[in-house]
């Protein structure tokens, strides 16, 4: 059964100078236990898409469309109904581990409160479970560390605390927003391994949000490429990597350092992402696309199936004419 089913999701923000359309009609499916990568450059709407799923948009934001979790529509639920789902069904690790923990509360207090509230554990029991979770995340000396305040932890350790906390109530779906950004490379690969283990152990589906295509290859089964708040391409990671259909995907992949190629200088995609205040009429990528023709600038390409399991929104996909 499809665990998470997102249809035509739109997120917009009311701001001083008009409406910002951060997400523009995104479709997304996550199967139970699956791992899905959502990739795209900064500002492509990845975080807002996921916050909309959690019902945690900023005050000036609204979401429209449909977000179904296990066939239950989440958009339109009130805070109390959402609170029954958060933690137990769906959990999220936010983008910046340095600010995501409450600096005024001990790590122990922050970790145990979910267990006490959602699983009805006694405080003592919840504390033991939290220590066990931190141990599993390879936090050294967890029994002592858990009594400390977040500022006494490094970024990597905080990220582990956040992941442990998010997994503590064994959710069906874990959304991890840039869990490895701002961490050094060895810590990055550890975090990725921890996520993979959690998936294997708990059967938790993982949505990994990242602008770093490099970590997607080993860590995820499926991927969705986002640009200008729209899905450009989706499909199994190995097949998309082997032969991307969308010029934007190709650009992203070319920006990844690879062993089989001598690239002292990475070709990053020239140009800037579109202005979300005034989205272009045609393909949002047209202005930066090396293959763009007139049609691209006037007509928005639909997200169409091109091969089993693979979709692309492009008038001139890389594998031949549409």
């Amino acid at each position: 059964m499809t665990l998470l089913r997102v249809r035509n999701l739109r997120v917009s923000f009311a701001t001083g100078d008009g409406t910002v359309n951060a997400v523009n009609g995104v479709d997304l499916d996550v199967e139970a236990g699956q791992s899905l990568a959502v990739v795209g450059e900064s500002g492509s709407g990845k975080s807002q898409l996921m916050l909309a799923v959690m019902g945690l948009l900023a005050r000036n934001g609204t979401a429209a469309g449909s977000v179904e979790l296990e066939s239950v529509e989440l958009l339109g639920l009130d805070e109390r109904e959402l609170n029954r789902i958060r933690s137990r069904r769906i959990a999220m690790v936010f983008q910046d581990p340095m600010t995501a923990l409450n600096p005024y509360l001990r790590v122990a207090d922050q970790m145990t409160e979910g267990l006490v509230l959602h699983l009805g554990m006694a405080r003592r029991e919840a504390l033991a479970e939290s220590v066990r979770l931190l141990d599993a995340m390879e936090v050294p000396d967890a029994r002592r560390q858990i009594a400390m305040y977040p500022h006494e932890f490094s970024g990597g350790m905080r990220q582990r605390v956040l992941i442990a906390m998010a997994l503590s109530c064994r959710p069906r779906l874990l959304i991890a927003d840039e869990p490895t950004t701002a961490l050094d490379v060895t810590v990055q690969s550890r975090i990725m391994r921890i996520l993979a283990e959690a998936r294997a152990e708990l059967g938790t589906a993982v949505v990994l949000v990242t602008h770093d295509v490099g970590i997607v290859a080993g860590g995820c089964e499926h991927m969705v490429v986002l640009y200008g708040g729209q899905v450009m391409e989706s499909g199994p990671v190995d097949r998309v990597f082997a032969a991307p259909y969308h010029p934007y995907t190709e650009g992203l992949l070319n920006a990844v350092p690879r062993l089989d190629r001598d690239d002292s200088r990475l070709p990053s995609i020239p140009g800037d992402p579109p202005d979300m205040n005034r989205p272009p009429a045609g393909c949002p990528f047209a202005a930066r696309c090396p293959r763009a023709v007139d049609r691209c600038r006037h007509e928005l390409p639909g997200l169409l199936s091109r091969a089993p399991d693979r979709r692309v929104a492009c008038h001139l996909p890389l594998d031949g004419p549409a």
Partner: protein, 307 residues
């Protein structure tokens, strides 16, 4: 922590000493003397009085004697005006009054102000918020010297519910109006500060984490947001405390409560130097002590601050 405490208390001693010296010099420099009257006294009498109270000595000697008798005997000297009373007796009489209505005012300002601020922030942009903002803006333009006559007018003269003044050992009918008059503007400031800092904290990333955990809103607000939201309020408590000490002068004047503020004004008008000095030192000492408490409270709330 303990060493910090001692350090702070050690710094307080020279602080108070400077306060004593500056106040004394200012009084000394002010024209006129404590025994000036409408009809000038004969110079011999004046000289006798000055000798009796040591006012014939050079300034340095006067200050030295004053400080020495405080340090050795905790004696703040005799009152020049109330011939049969010492400064210690006057303070012992007035201070409990000030402390009683002062403490209630402080408590009321903090409790009501913080509650109002939280309610407004949590229900941001609702009628409740507008109401709270309206009330606190209104209350802020009602300092004690405006509140006091209004209260007296309404509750004593029109409604006849409350006595217009007096103390009677601090029974509540005598307490109500002084407390309201003294606390209103501070309550409003605290409400405003709490509201804006709570609004800011509720936007913090760690609050989103708390909400993502599915915690009920009450827990998010009181467990996760309250402490950081209170930090600016704590910083304001020091100035508020000083403001209330100053305000007590007005309260004692309007409600004849007989607190320390009354003696402060009278002693200044009468050039009753020892009383004026005693009250000044008391207020200064309390302020130093209170600011120390505020700093400790701050460190207790914010774990990143360690002394």
């Amino acid at each position: 922590m303990l060493s910090y405490l001692f350090k702070r208390l050690a710094v307080a001693v020279p602080t108070l000493l400077v306060l004593v010296i500056v106040s004394y010099v200012l009084m000394y420099a002010a024209p006129g003397g404590p025994f000036d009257t409408e009809r000038a006294l004969p110079p011999e009498v004046m000289a006798n009085l000055d000798r009796k109270y040591g006012l014939d000595q050079p300034l340095v000697v006067q200050i030295w004697r004053y400080v020495a008798s405080i340090v050795t005997d905790f004696d703040f000297g005799p009152s020049f005006r109330y011939q049969d009373q010492t400064v210690n007796e006057i303070i012992a009489q007035g201070f409990p009054v000030t402390l009683t209505y002062g403490a209630w005012s402080f408590l009321a300002a903090v409790l009501v102000g913080v509650s109002l601020g939280i309610a407004a922030a949590v229900h941001h942009n609702t009628l409740l918020d507008y109401f709270a903002v309206g009330v606190s803006i209104g209350a802020q333009v009602l300092p004690n010297f405006v509140m006091a006559p209004i209260l007296t007018l309404v509750f004593t003269l029109w409604l006849g519910w409350l006595p217009g003044g007096g103390w009677q050992g601090g029974e509540w009918p005598y307490l109500v109006m002084p407390v309201i008059a003294l606390s209103t503007s501070f309550m409003a400031s605290i409400a405003r500060i709490t509201r804006s800092s709570m609004l800011e904290v509720l936007n913090a990333s760690f609050i989103r984490t708390a909400r993502a955990k599915g915690l009920p809103r009450r827990r998010v607000v009181f467990r996760h947001a309250l402490k950081p939201a209170l930090l600016p309020v704590v910083s304001y408590l020091g100035p508020a405390f000083v403001g209330m000490i100053t305000g007590s002068v007005v309260i004692d004047f309007f409600f004849a409560t007989g607190g320390i503020g009354q003696f402060f004004v009278n002693s200044a008008l009468n050039r009753d130097y020892p009383v004026l000095m005693g009250v000044t030192i008391l207020a200064g000492g309390l302020t130093v002590l209170f600011n120390l408490l505020v700093d400790l409270l701050y460190a207790w709330i914010d774990p990143r601050i360690r002394y």
